[in-house]
Symmetry: C2
Subunit: 216 residues, 2 copies
DNA sequence: TTGGTTCTTGACTGGATGGTCAAACTTGAT
DNA sequence: ATCAAGTTTGACCATCCAGTCAAGAACCAA
């Protein structure tokens, strides 16, 4: 009577589900980092597993030991991104001073463009393709949050604490301006010259722009 | 002694160079239109000739009868785009009234986002990938034009006809805001709901924004 | 109608690409 | 040191994809 092995993964080739080993953690992170680099510049279909493997310094079968498929890597990246993508807007505080709150929101978004340009480009690529993989996220989570904050902005305008301004376009304008510095960094860099940080002077300009717009 | 044929193209399979037949003109246009649709949503590497052929309602070999390669189609699209991409900024007139000139420039860019969203996304895709195919255009033509107009804006600011404002970031902000309505139309559409034109209300908002910024 | 030219396409090729697999190597608990 | 589990990879496969080719269909001037 053969003793059933207690061991092993449920499916062959599937890494253990529970707590991951040091190696698991390290290599998953290396792969995600490499994949972010490649997906964010070439888009999903334009990226290849060989490119990602080369970037990660691992073999292609090794990649597929840690992730089930190219799609799984991409899905993982997007999921992690969306988790934090909404935070800056969530922090817009109804109890705060309207102009200061909006300025702080703009500054948080600008920081994300500075610190996570690859994530920004990954997101931009997804939207350019019509957002096929994050449609539900946008229609549900993002839309609800924007509606809620737009309501808050409208209230602020109505009570005279903020200039009368279209709240949706105000939010869109912050997205447009801050993301531009990440997504179009290549263009800005080529125009401003090599020795120039693309974001130099961006914050003062945006402060000037929104200070003038928002004063009641 | 065989009489040399005067006829035929220089290379077999190469369409005639000179004046194109009706069919040539029509099919080239159909192909470019289909390719614009596909390239602008999937990027160069993410697009396939089969997709373009299906979109155009032609067979793949037929595509390659009119264009030498996938690359040639893409290059043709970019070339046509760049030809007109700079016009709105070129029209910024040193003789005009500063605020009105900038407003008119913003309006021209917004019109392009409305009328040519696919071209805008084609350009965005190219920049996201690091602008490999249009680097020379950006470093030379675009950079020179921007430097020249930034100089003009700086002069306007110095002589008090315009608020003191960073001229480069002023131009970038117009690019960012207007392109956003084309490139992120999918996102805006999902947030604002189905029955909504993404560009509704954009122009009044942008006028308000720049009116407040630019007043001396 | 005729005959040369232009246009169209089914069938194909070579190389890239996502993914599989079994064998080999490494690690770490005992 | 031992060995079972976890990790790595060379070789391989099926499919996709850009591009070719030769033969046939449509066009048009005489």
């Amino acid at each position: 009577m053969p003793v059933p092995k207690k061991s092993a993964a449920e499916k062959p080739g599937t890494p253990p589900r529970g707590p991951r080993s040091r190696i698991q953690k390290r290599n998953r992170q290396i792969i995600l980092d490499a994949a972010l680099e490649v997906f964010s510049t070439h888009g999903f279909r334009g990226a290849t597993l060989d490119q990602i493997a080369a970037e990660a310094g691992l073999s292609k079968p090794n990649l597929l030991y840690y992730f089930d498929s190219k799609d799984a890597i991409h899905r993982d990246l997007l999921t992690r991104l969306l988790d934090t993508w909404l935070d800056p807007l969530r922090m817009l505080d109804a109890q705060g001073e309207p102009q200061a709150e909006i300025m702080a929101y703009m500054r948080r978004k600008l920081e994300m463009a500075r610190d996570f340009p690859r994530e920004s480009r990954l997101f931009a690529n997804e939207i350019l393709q019509g957002a096929p993989r994050i449609e539900q996220f946008i229609r549900n989570d993002l839309r609800q949050l924007v509606d809620e904050k737009a309501q808050l902005l409208a209230d602020w305008s109505r009570t005279g604490r903020l200039a009368p301004v279209d709240p949706y376009h105000l939010i869109f304008s912050i997205w447009a301006l801050t993301q531009h510095y990440a997504d179009f960094a290549a263009q800005i860099g080529m125009i401003r010259g090599a020795g120039h940080d693309p974001l130099d002077g961006a914050e003062p300009f945006l402060e000037q722009l929104y200070t003038r717009l928002l004063a009641p």
